[in-house]
Symmetry: C2
DNA sequence: TATGATAATGCAACAAAGTTGCAAAATATA
DNA sequence: TATATTTTGCAACTTTGTTGCATTATCATA
């Protein structure tokens, strides 16, 4: 696991530091998306709040993480797939937010539907967030 | 216009006050969605920040305004249609955010597509935000 | 339309979230 | 290992959002 983390950092020309290893491994070992606040808690008292902001920002810029649109003023982050690289995100997949457990998940194998817009609108990217009951909570 | 504003307030059992009239008329006279910050600017120095927060909150609860999901940690508000009422929103329409002018618009006449989710996921609401170039900027 | 009950507002004080500059520490490179 | 470069943590600050409460405005009705 640690090897994988360091590979990802190296591959993105990011120096290998404690906070980057810790934060990236949190995402690799956790199925859902994480907000800044979650990371602060999960990373413990080990890292400064500012470092976490800067690390997340660097990861988004490099195409390691993407942000997920929400109506609740609380940006969530999740791992990108392999097609994302510096400055070029291709995270066009559905996001699911569970009304019960609150987790946000990337649904990589759902088809993003075509949206027919009125005349004059030119679509470049379609973001879809589905709210409902997740796999785990349904049981 | 003022008559319409007061009617909406009365219809929603909200007392008719300066800030409510002002904020509601901003939405009625403005095509796109507005963030809290926009309203603070547009309403001038007339109203306290706290009053604006409370007014927006009241409008959302009453089904006069709805919030729009964004990836940028900046909640935008827009007028609901007539089917929304206290505690029951039905704002299932596409939202469009222009990459050039930054405006966010409700696209009421675009069909919200069905999303096929993997087994186990139960969808209750689908939010669609399209990013691109708007009607005005295309010209 | 005057009066009292009720609700909304503005203010102050606070909490939480996010930003910036900079010296110290860690990492990369040769 | 030595040096250049990058990252970190800290402090100070800004912006955003929340809460309690006294004052003021609105509403209902007599
Ligand atoms: Mn995702
Ligand atoms: Mn809308
Ligand atoms: Zn769940
Ligand atoms: Zn535009």
């Amino acid at each position: 696991m640690n090897i994988r983390v360091e590979d990802i950092l190296r591959h993105n020309r990011l120096s290998i530091t404690g906070s980057r290893k810790k934060i990236l491994s949190l995402f690799l070992s956790h199925a859902g998306a994480l907000a800044h606040g979650d990371i602060e808690k999960k990373a413990g008292e080990k890292f400064d709040r500012v470092t976490i902001y800067r690390t997340l920002q660097a990861f988004v810029e490099k195409g390691i993480l993407h942000t997920i649109p929400t109506s609740d003023n609380n940006v969530r982050y999740a791992l990108c797939n392999d097609e994302c690289y510096e400055g070029h995100h291709h995270d066009d997949h559905v996001h699911f937010m569970c009304r019960l457990c609150g987790t946000t998940t990337c649904i990589n194998d759902a088809y993003i539907p075509e949206v027919k817009l009125p005349r004059g609108y030119n679509a470049l990217q379609v973001e879809v967030v589905v709210h409902g009951i997740c796999k785990n909570c349904k049981k």
